[in-house]
Symmetry: D2
Subunit: 140 residues, 4 copies
């Protein structure tokens, strides 16, 4: 996986709080970085998490996978590549990559299920969201 | 400060996630341990956070202080001593101590302001809470 | 997946720090709970992380997967079921389950690669570790 | 306290992971933001944490105080003002302020003790560090 596969990238800086006694970033915190990637991606395509909430939706994560390819350290500046690679009826999947100077540190995915914000029940992915993703990725 | 000064103590185990690249517990996480102390104290005196919420209250932290006296490490079993040492009109203060085998690791305090859960405005500390604290501490 | 599939289980209590603005446990923190499961498992089979370090080994996580089946909330007492389900030449895989009152909240796995502590290069899983796992799981 | 009191400021963005079930940033995470302020300050004065380590020093935090003046929320862009306001023989104190659009969210301080990296014993604050701070603050 390479950085250029992602039309969208955002920057994350490693906090001291993110490290562990092995001297590198604690493994669970890669998901925190992926999460930042998904948030910023949604903003970039013009369909932010706030907008989703306002329109009566929210989503729950149903699966998260991370493959660790290298280490990250305190104060590293990392690039998170994010892309919605699949949209189903009620779910959508982010593909994610974490890079330092174009070197892959980790990759993975996060699968979310769209829900109705008040009933908390699964809801169809809103058409506007679907279109925003398609348009953004086609312009790659 | 000594463990026996606290009528109430609860146990916390250090998670690997709590450590940092210096090999010990990251300094901000001592506040997490203090927080567990305050939660468990409220349960112990019969006035849990859940009960407070049900009665229409909540609280915000307005000050937190931690003095670091020693280090804590992965998998340590720590004792958190907690006591409400002061109750004002709308605020109440926890005194806290963190110990490992009776050796002080850290002490400090957390000052909270009681609020009305819906208006989010400061509210008088409910009489029942005040009494629960007094009774608990007097039986020391 | 059911709790009884795991010969080993350990208890984790949800800290307020583990929650997020959706009101439940933040998704990355399930990996923290899984991590506690793996630590306690190693102790239970008589081959703790400390022992591993003393014998000149350490390990890196190469893959982590979590499937979210339900929500967990502040102060929940959760059971983490852990089991080493596969041991290769240099890698070993934990299967994990997270339960509240026997209801599955999440499951997943963590794949680790054994390394030589000083060279940081992959190392054969030590025979003693392999045996400790086999003996523990066979007594199920 | 006002932003302009600080010659040095750095930006922190609130991660979803930083929030709690009250919907705002968890109180202990303000110390994480303060910590970023101290790290970036040291870089700005030309005496980074890495440089300190290379020269055989390290430091431990002995006191941290935070006064909460407002709330911070997911995705907020915050300014952390940092300044070394006091240098003793072996200790140095950071004064810190957290702002959103020039509105004070929190202030506090962090007191550190310089140590010899290998012996872990208190060490005199190195002259170069002292000078770097003085020069930086005098140019205010």
């Amino acid at each position: 996986m390479r950085e250029e596969e992602f039309r969208f990238k955002t920057t994350v800086r490693v906090r001291y709080a993110d490290t562990d006694a092995q001297g590198h970033v604690y493994f669970a915190n890669y998901l925190v970085y992926f999460d930042i990637g998904t948030t910023d991606y949604m903003k970039a395509i013009g369909y932010s998490y706030e907008k989703l909430l306002e329109e009566g939706y929210d989503f729950f994560t149903v699966e998260a996978l991370c493959r660790y390819r290298g280490e990250a350290f305190f104060d590293d500046e990392l690039q998170v590549g994010a892309r919605i690679s699949k949209i189903g009826n009620t779910s959508f999947t982010f593909s994610l990559g974490l890079f330092r100077n174009d070197v892959l540190i980790a990759d993975g995915h996060i699968v979310n299920v769209m829900i109705d914000r008040s009933s908390k029940k699964p809801a169809r992915v809103p058409e506007g969201f679907r279109k925003a993703v398609e348009e953004f990725e086609q312009n790659k």
